[in-house]
Symmetry: D2
Subunit: 138 residues, 4 copies
């Protein structure tokens, strides 16, 4: 696996493609086949009981794996999620979320990998997602 996009190029792509959500995300680390991101949690992401909603964790997993894939194939915006299987492990706190993503396979038509999600400052993961993205033909 080889990086085809830099951290700055990915952040610019995110701003353009996900204008409604891009300001919530920050890339913490990027390598060939892995990415770590931080997601700011605001009122709209919270649920009664002082926790973060499931769709918010799904969104972070989805964005993280999308960007990890694009970093390896270039900015193909038609790349789409085909499957996500997510296990919710523990109740998150109200803190920011952190994701750690690995790409397990980058093929011609499919990208497959997984994402661990943490509440900031806690070493036990709150969710684990496996994702598949379909890569469009050139």
């Amino acid at each position: 696996m080889k990086l085809l996009m830099s951290k700055i190029e990915i952040e610019q792509f995110l701003k353009k493609e996900f204008p409604q959500v891009s300001q919530s995300f920050k890339i913490l680390a990027l390598d060939a086949g892995s990415i770590s991101m931080l997601m700011n949690i605001t009122n709209e992401h919270l649920r009664p009981g002082g926790t973060v909603s499931g769709p918010t964790m799904f969104l972070l997993a989805d964005v993280s794996f999308y960007l990890a894939t694009l970093s390896l194939i270039g900015p193909k915006s038609l790349t789409v999620t085909t499957n996500c299987s997510i296990n919710f492990l523990r109740k998150p706190s109200e803190d920011s979320l952190i994701s750690e993503t690995r790409v397990l396979k980058i093929g011609k038509t499919l990208s497959v990998g997984d994402v661990l999600i943490y509440s900031k400052g806690n070493k036990k993961p709150v969710a684990h997602a496996s994702l598949t993205y379909a890569i469009p033909k050139d």
Copy 2:
């Protein structure tokens, strides 16, 4: 399976538990082990290209299966998603989404089933999700 909550009781529960999202949802049909819901799509749910975001479809699947489960066990708000595996099948239109949910098993500790999601007016599903919820002890 036996219904323990009426349509009106579920709608009131939804308003109380999901205040930030409840006004987007409407119950179309309710039976013992199945529910059909409509989700209004607004600007915040859309993505470039005139389509609905993945997390929005995830939210509809999650809410639909949550309410299908509660209709069979009563209003236990500590019931939480443990797993969701979702396949995205086709690009949704910008129209409202409709869900059709079946409960395949309602046990003492787990509820398992699936949800088909459609764009209103189209017979081909846009997504299919399988979900597991953990039911708290009394």
Copy 3:
């Protein structure tokens, strides 16, 4: 969706492709987008406690969805499973297993659907699987 293979053509294909397991399977019903199969259970499939092993149910789901896909695209033996998410719902009896498969999407590169599995003579499903197959280019 349109049937491209008959029941007899599929059974002949199965004999050729899965020689080690084909004699365990029988097609009960076939339609455009759905198939129902019966799997004979023998000693090798059983587990202590008088039940059928998980890998056996996985095998039935996999074979059923494979054949449902081929019935719609023709005998392309390079068609391979890319994802299977299976929920085990109840302990099966030692009886034969029966599968009911639906194809939810048949695209150019992916086939997606699900399979319900029953112990013969029992109306409550023992397992539910969602599967994705990759279809090779011509």
Copy 4:
């Protein structure tokens, strides 16, 4: 997480519980929250084209995560798989398979984690599975 069973205790348990398959498996490494296993591949596991069948990889993932769970809770044989989501990444060779398992959460009622599967001597994984097991009450 704390180990409650030694490598030898687990191997003896496996012999007793999975008599039909135990001789195929060997524990390579065991730690609190992780296990690595080797599975011998014989004729019955092969498919035309010189590759290992999907149900064989499912079996290895299932056995590996089962034993990783028992190593942390003790020999509770009623512990059962509730969900497995498996992604097939590459065609395995005919060689032995090796699994690397991590337990992400061990709760009172559920154990959740994942398994990477390799063909011996190849660093690129052939499959990745996420599993959930239900733990019986004492």
